[in-house]
């Protein structure tokens, strides 16, 4: 058959529709005329001939209809017509449309927003990196701990001996001070081995990148590569930058190139501004940067698999090298290595980044399911109400297929509108930086609605459309033509099962969300109301880096004394102290500690610090710390100015550490040892006091063992200046600056911070999770209550006649209310039981993901259940009261 004639037919029937219609009308009336004429010729009287001709034509309209169906493009035209019907039918129930679309928009919007954040952080591979699928990372595994970093000589051995990798690089990064023509600044600087850029496959934007010849230990060239972002932001994208010099940590380095746009280094949490050859760090003289330290060092590893090799090959290969190293060097003995496909990101980062989004993803998924269930429920109520209409249509010859098709079209239209609304909501959520930063703060991460996000939104909408239309459609299929016409609406009572299951499921889901929110919130409240063991309200602290500022250890003590004196003289200051850790600080300095005489030899200890079980936080503090921070000494004495360099080494232990080292004994006077891996052994310290326990690592966790050492007896390159304000208000940065006077800019790198903020920040993941899950829980509760209201109200409508009969037979209004509410409860109770089971599962999950969640919290669960019960009783009370006020005579007459 000819394509041309088909195309012509399609064109005529789609775009010359009116003419085609007129033509068809003419053709059929001409048919009736000609037929009637033919009958007349056969001798049938004129009127009878016409009547017969018309009758025989079997309804001209129906003939037209089937002819139209035969036309090209009929499918298109029919679908368009179905859409018009659906639109018209939806327009008749605006309340239904608004509720359904708003519900779906919230569900889809929430899901899309969370996916956007996850997409921006977890799913996006590192920019500008070639073939990230072949990149591996490696962790060192000790007896009980996993750490991501290695010593430099170990890295060199892996680098030289590996057969499974085509390249292996060492790197890490930190915030350092810099100075250039623009002025002084803080910048993120990564130090990289010579293979770093080749392994990642990075091409420079301009100039060249650091290569193996720049990073030879002891002969590193003082060069720097600048990030594209920094180049544009700070240097205006000027090509003249290459060849200029700038100063990083007091060292002059020459710019050799610009990294490609988007390249942020190999850690997505901290995008880097500069890259310098790694051996430059050896010249800082700081212990972990030692070029000869094995065991636990300071460098992360990133490698690229050789062609045809797998992660398992690399695991075997590097594992063999690790055990060889373990045999050769005591510092490496007993260590294992774990290789993983990294895409250029370490396990820790991935974990850190994904924690809150993962919880939210589950919560949002539940919310989306709930939204679907709710709209399906609404659609069900609506189609039940339209049973009579549907039955009439079926009786008049409408095909079930077309009725189901119409349901699907209605569902799709609602879902499409919901998706559009959802994208708008997602866009608002994502654009609101306060909200995204409660989920997680990633410097430089972009939150965009890209194609993938939109695909997720539309997938969610498509699933919703199906979910929303299938259930009512099934109901259409089950309508036996005739029964509904006969029974009236009462016939539907027995078939509300699907709806009841939906409401039960909604109850369960909203209980899970509510219980989880209550769980996180109560855990957070507990953390906030528990005394951390130190004052948080009056303290402001300032991070100082005397080592980087070139202040040697003797001068440091002078500097600290000066600071204390200036603080004492300040009228706004009640006291000041020096400490090396600002609690709560999970990453404070920790070490294995021993009762004197039980410590291992230096050779045994080197590189095995993490293998010992009794590990304590070590805070190096000035004598004033205990009074300034408000940590009471419960036994013995505090430090004094006499506990100085020449005096016997002393320590104060926390109650917990005392209990671990000397259970049931008086710790005062006991000796303890903090071994060092290299160099002169540290003298044993005598315990002179016991300090009350503090929540040193985290407000959500029990107090860990802590020991305090006088600042005059242990050397530390980095300290905090803590200042206690006289009045109960936050001391301004100005006061701290006043105390610091004309300190050099490399001493003071960050801004002063109020401890109250610090504490609040620590709880940010919990706060975010609690707020979000709480919001979802509230929406879920609302949706479930609406759903229950629908079920009960409809039940009342369907049982109008029965209830009226009961009333007529003497049932009291109270009895009717009880009857109706009892009906609602039969839906609720199984749902609630399911919800309790779900909440217990959620508790396990949350305990795994967030610190400080103690386990099953009956109080939280009871709170959630009570909230649910109140909402549900309110939802069923309204229709129940309406039922009780029924006038039996009207009710019996009405149907």
């Amino acid at each position: 058959m000819s394509i041309a004639s088909r195309a012509f037919g399609l064109w005529r029937h789609l775009f010359r529709r009116e003419r085609a219609e007129r033509d068809l009308g003419d053709e059929l009336s001409s048919y009736v005329e000609l037929r009637a004429e033919a009958y007349e010729r056969q001798g049938i009287p004129r009127d009878e001939a016409w009547r017969q001709a018309r009758a025989e034509s079997g309804g001209v309209e129906q003939a037209k209809e089937s002819t139209r169906d035969a036309w090209g493009g009929a499918w298109l035209v029919n679908t368009a017509r179905e859409f018009r019907y659906a639109l018209r039918s939806l327009r008749r129930s605006p309340a239904y449309v608004v509720t359904a679309v708003a519900t779906l928009a919230i569900g889809i919007g929430g899901a899309t927003a969370v996916f956007t954040v996850v997409n921006a952080t977890l799913l996006r591979p590192l920019p500008a990196v070639t073939d990230p699928g072949n990149l591996i990372g490696a962790d060192q595994v000790f007896a009980s701990t996993t750490i991501a970093t290695f010593g430099y000589p170990d890295f060199e051995d892996f680098h030289d001996q590996t057969k499974s990798l085509s390249g292996l690089a060492a790197y890490n990064g930190t915030q350092l001070s810099m100075r250039d023509a623009v002025g002084p600044a803080q910048a993120w600087v990564s130090y990289v081995s010579g293979d770093f850029f080749p392994v990642l496959g990075i091409k420079p934007e301009a100039g060249r990148l650091i290569g193996p010849s720049d990073a030879i230990p002891r002969a590193a060239t003082p060069v720097v590569v600048v990030s594209h972002d920094m180049w544009v932001r700070r240097y205006g994208g000027s090509p003249d930058l290459i060849g200029k010099t700038l100063t990083i940590e007091g060292r002059e380095v020459t710019v050799i190139g610009i990294a490609p746009r988007g390249f942020i280094g190999s850690e997505s949490i901290s995008p880097m501004d500069f890259w310098v050859p790694l051996p430059i760090m050896f010249q800082t003289g700081s212990d972990p940067f030692s070029p000869s330290a094995r065991g636990s060092g300071w460098f992360r590893l990133i490698g690229r698999l050789a062609p045809g090799r797998t992660v398992a090959d690399a695991q075997k290969d590097l594992g063999a090298i690790m055990s060889r190293l373990g045999r050769a060097y005591p510092a490496d003995s007993g260590h294992a290595i774990r290789v993983y496909a990294s895409g250029g990101m370490s396990h820790g980062e991935r974990d850190e980044l994904s924690r809150v989004p993962r919880i939210l993803a589950i919560a949002v998924g539940l919310l989306l399911v709930l939204a679907c269930a709710n709209v399906a429920n609404l659609a069900l109520v609506r189609s039940t109400a339209r049973r009579r209409e549907l039955a009439t249509r079926i009786a008049l010859g409408a095909s079930r297929r077309s009725l189901v098709g119409r349901q699907v079209i209605e569902g799709s239209m609602l879902a499409a509108a919901g998706a559009v609304g959802g994208i708008v909501i997602a866009k608002l959520l994502v654009a609101s930086s306060t909200i995204t930063s409660t989920i997680l703060s990633v410097r430089g991460a972009e939150f965009r609605l890209d194609g993938r996000v939109l695909a997720v939104a539309f997938a969610a909408a498509a699933i919703t459309a199906l979910g929303v239309s299938v259930i009512p459609a099934l109901q259409v299929l089950r309508v036996p033509a005739g029964t509904v016409m006969k029974d009236g609406v009462a016939g539907a009572v027995r078939r509300a099962g699907g709806q009841r299951i939906l409401v039960g499921a909604q109850t369960a889901i909203s209980l899970v969300l509510l219980a989880s929110a209550a769980l996180v919130t109560t855990a957070m409240q507990r953390a906030l109301s528990t005394d951390p063991g130190f004052d948080t309200q009056h303290l402001t602290f300032q991070f100082l880096q005397p080592q980087r500022a070139g202040v040697d250890s003797a001068q440091r003590l002078v500097l600290y004394d000066q600071l204390m004196e200036r603080a004492d003289a300040d009228p706004d200051v009640a006291g000041a102290a020096i400490t090396t850790t600002m609690p709560p600080e999970e990453w404070g300095t920790r070490s294995a500690v021993f009762r004197a005489g039980e410590e291992p030899s230096q050779a045994e200890f080197a590189g095995h610090d993490l293998d010992y079980n009794v590990r304590s936080y070590i805070d190096v503090v000035s004598p004033s710390l205990f009074s300034v921070m408000g940590i009471p000494i419960v036994r013995g004495r505090a430090f004094t100015a006499h506990d100085d360099h020449g005096a016997p080494a002393v320590a104060i232990v926390s109650q917990r550490l005392a209990k671990v080292l000397w259970p049931g004994q008086d710790p005062i006077g006991k000796m303890l040892v903090v071994p060092v891996a290299r160099g002169t052994p540290r003298a044993p310290m005598q315990v002179v006091g016991v300090a009350r326990d503090t929540r040193h690592a985290s407000l959500m966790e029990d107090p860990p063992p802590v020991m305090y050492v006088p600042v005059a007896q242990m050397n530390f390159g980095y300290v905090y200046l803590v200042v206690r304000a006289k009045s109960e208000r936050q001391i301004g940065a100005a006061v701290v600056r006043r105390i610091l006077g004309d300190a050099p800019d490399r001493l003071v790198v960050t801004d002063p911070e109020w401890l109250g903020n610090w504490v609040t920040n620590e709880l940010r993941p919990q706060r975010a999770a609690s707020a979000w899950i709480g919001a979802f829980g509230a929406i879920a509760l609302l949706l479930a209550a609406l759903g229950l209201y629908g079920v009960v109200a409809q039940g009342v409508l369907q049982r109008t006649r029965e209830l009226a009969v009961r009333t007529a037979l003497g049932a009291t209004p109270g009895g009717i209310v009880r009857l109706v509410i009892g009906d609602g409860m039969r839906v609720l109770v199984p749902g609630a039981l399911l919800g309790v089971a779900g909440s217990l599962a959620a508790t396990t999950l949350l305990r795994h993901e967030l610190a400080g969640i103690a386990g099953v919290n009956l109080q939280a669960l009871a709170l959630a259940a009570a909230l649910l019960a109140v909402a549900m009783v309110a939802a069923s009370l309204l229709p129940a009261r309406r039922a009780a006020r029924l006038n039996p005579v009207d009710a019996l007459r009405s149907d």
Partner: protein
């Protein structure tokens, strides 16, 4: 009214093509002609006739134009095209083959 034998799939198209093989005709003509050539076995009402006519026209086997009936009434006339004639021959041959096979099968022992 003659008895109705249900139309086999595709039979109607073939009957229409055959009915129009002699001369162009309007709808009533086609309908009557089919009744005549099937000896009254098939009566085709407008509900199935017109969809088929329009479908065949769109396939390019018929062409349609408005003209005057014998009694000077306006009517739409359908003409078999060259492609339609080829289609008629092909379908008729196929039909004869099937019918022959069926007849042979039914008359076998």
């Amino acid at each position: 009214m003659p008895s109705h034998t249900p139309l086999l799939q595709g039979t109607l198209d073939l009957l229409i093509l055959k009915a129009l093989a002699l001369q162009p005709m309007h709808g009533v003509g086609v309908s009557d002609r089919i009744e005549q050539i099937t000896r009254g076995a098939y009566t085709v009402g407008p509900g199935s006739l017109f969809p088929a006519l329009h479908r065949l026209e769109e396939a390019g086997w018929l062409s349609a134009s408005w003209g005057e009936s014998a009694n000077n009434r306006r009517a739409k006339f359908y003409t078999l095209t060259a492609a339609g004639r080829r289609q008629l021959n092909a379908e008729a041959a196929e039909w004869k083959r099937v019918a022959g096979a069926m007849a042979a099968a039914l008359s076998a022992g």
